[in-house]
Symmetry: C2
Amino acid sequence: MPATKAEALQSFKETIRKIKSYEEALGVLYWDLRTGAPRKGMDTRSEAIGALSGDMFKLSTSPELGEWLSALEEKHAYAELSEIEQRLVTETRKDYDRSVLIPPQLYQEYVVLASQSESKWEEAKASNDYAGFQPYLEKVIAYTNQFIDLWGAKATRYDTLLDQYEPGMTVAELDRVFGGLRAELVPLAAAIASSAHQPDTSFLRQSFDKSAQKAFSLYILEQMGYDFSAGRLDESVHPFATGLSPGDVRITTRYLEDDVTSALFGTIHEGGHALYEQNIMDELIGTTLCTGTSMGIHESQSRFWENVIGRSRPFWNRYFGELQQRFPGQLDVSVDQFYRGNNVVQPSLIRIEADELTYNLHIIIRYEMEKLIFNEGAKAADLPALWNDKYREYLGVVPSNDAEGVLQDVHWSGGAFGYFPSYSLGNMYAAQFADTMEQELSGFWSHVEAGNLLPIKQWLTERIYKYGKLRTPAELIASVTGKPLDPKHLVAYLSKKYSDIYRLS
Amino acid sequence: MPATKAEALQSFKETIRKIKSYEEALGVLYWDLRTGAPRKGMDTRSEAIGALSGDMFKLSTSPELGEWLSALEEKHAYAELSEIEQRLVTETRKDYDRSVLIPPQLYQEYVVLASQSESKWEEAKASNDYAGFQPYLEKVIAYTNQFIDLWGAKATRYDTLLDQYEPGMTVAELDRVFGGLRAELVPLAAAIASSAHQPDTSFLRQSFDKSAQKAFSLYILEQMGYDFSAGRLDESVHPFATGLSPGDVRITTRYLEDDVTSALFGTIHEGGHALYEQNIMDELIGTTLCTGTSMGIHESQSRFWENVIGRSRPFWNRYFGELQQRFPGQLDVSVDQFYRGNNVVQPSLIRIEADELTYNLHIIIRYEMEKLIFNEGAKAADLPALWNDKYREYLGVVPSNDAEGVLQDVHWSGGAFGYFPSYSLGNMYAAQFADTMEQELSGFWSHVEAGNLLPIKQWLTERIYKYGKLRTPAELIASVTGKPLDPKHLVAYLSKKYSDIYRLS
């Protein structure tokens, strides 16, 4: 490599490192805002976030960065790069083009609009006023369409949006997997609803001491192998995980006095996200590859730990006795009753309260609507009726108003179109990974039943976590499971689990 | 003002605002490091802090900033500026010149040296090894001397260092005030030591529930008028206050199980710093004038609240009953016993454990030694003997080793020469402000005795807090008290208080 190429590589890597430093600083500022920053400091804090974000954007769209990228993409130069460097060039090019294709003025207008639209959505949801929100949503859709034009439409216009959150994911692929999923889950949900064997949940509704809940959550995190010298657990209104670096991956939860498992499952969920980020290989530190490879893969790890492990019978065979001891006299039920009570399936209107089965139908509805908006030109005015029709068809329930219907989620108000599929992709990836793990990790469920969770973390680290963004989602699912994404794993998992719980014939 | 001047003013103010945003972001990162950031994240966090600090340094030393300053300093332009803008230009010029006069390479070397020297000091203190630390201290002194040469020596070389922490303060002034103070305090401390009426402190040594300590600390903060929607109280090994903006001023404390007032007085102390920063006028927000005007004035506010108010008899007449109720059966002493037990004067070796009287002698010793180093050329090798002689002379105690002598403080290892005087300046300013307050605020001590602390906060806000850095320390003490700094106020306060407690004739 000639001297200028070596210089380009060095400058490129230094800039990436600096971008990563800015990301980390911004990560701390956002974490702080969500875990107890004083209200009156918001104005100057927003300004500080704006200043840092602006400088980071300048760094990541500078003409120099474009020149270094071009130099490194040149055939001979590229061939001499390490695998990590090559992937870093590819990923940076993708982000760079995406950013520079949008005129700064247009983007600035959009940021202001999105912020107003989110505020308006909050009001509209509180007052059940879709009409008041509709003009904002129309504009957000119009800007998003402009962005698609600037970025260039892929196979379909909506494909361009999907690729932001799940690189390489397409409408063709999602139609295939979601189609398969929907066809199986709609009748399964109906069979469950008409089962005579509905679990008892009455014992879950008591007053459970919060500090005991917290102690148990911390205990389970430690059992999972969460590294407390590389993270911390705090409280926030909406639980989240944030990976500042593999050495600092923080999670939050929310303790509900009247629910003994809500905070626990939230903690396990965020703990799953955190295990991913804590175990990325050292070689990726200081690069933009040092994070999860996609929203869907990230969600597969949180949902694997929360649902596949945390809501399993072997898990509770091991841990229910300890939970009972922490709430003396309050959980006088059998482990079977407890397990079934924590695995109720019930078609409902609200996505974030849905069980692990019907949750997927909530997502498929949103996916189909986003396709209608961007590929079929559905208008904002049409959305409430479309929404209600799909809920009736897939879930057998109809919202009594838009607040519990089309207005329930924040995502669209801020322009996050293409994000929803990640959640169900996470469920499908998780089930497919779990099937491979069961084959490869001998005594998998005996480990869970013995509270021996570290081999599971270890397997996930070796096969998934350590690669960070070094493999794409499609490469990862293929390399780990030997085949592309297939919804049959999730369908089989759900059928087996719920046939047992609801005693379906 | 011609268009170019208006442009210079706008660019200047935007740059200052951005510097302030970076300062705020860095402030959050430092706060986070000291209140529980995970150990394993230190490396990338240091890198992030380095990246932000470097960019902030570039902003504050850019040639453009120099040009805008020159344009605004031009006579006609300056005259048209508002009072705030004028002061901002003056202060920025001072910082700008100080920064640009040091070659970046030299400064970089110094930063590395200071960091090594601090580590070495920590080791040396732990192993009582002054000889091992001495070469580092010699180098730090040599670099500091180079900086004085580059900045230019004022009336004396040490004046140049003082000005960093207490703008406008001089050796001539400090010799005057510390001379007066020392002459009075040495015999007073001796009289106290030989008094037959030593307070009983045995009741203070019990096990006091930490959560009750915390609740009482929060209660007293609220009584002082600390605004919890513009701040928060956390725990850290070394208590501190950090003003991120007037809307976010955070404090920390440290709860000691075996001491019922240590955390409380720490909280009141940091709360005093916080009241200052929370109550700076809105017009200064987003400028570098939005902070305390000097270390000494800042310390006057923490020490006023901690000592003048918090260790006073009227304060405990009001609050002791409530403290007793929070520790049932543990504090069965009279309020007089409690008050006296919390106001013990005892010559000692360690500054940070000293009482409010002898503390000043610890500072005067350090001041005299810093003068010897920079104005008389005293060598690092001479410091232990000089130190021990002065402790014998002023405090009547002699360190048995350097760890409890010349090695006790971190300041010199990191090059913070000129900082120590701030602590005693704080005590003197506080006593002088208090005398004026007693005259101007009718029923001052009755307010304290009634737990009516808000008029005191209000008076301090109107006379001191709101001005931030808009007035220099000398302007402030003159405008508030009508005269320059005079040590007689502190001497009178201490003589009166301790003559009563120790029943001196």
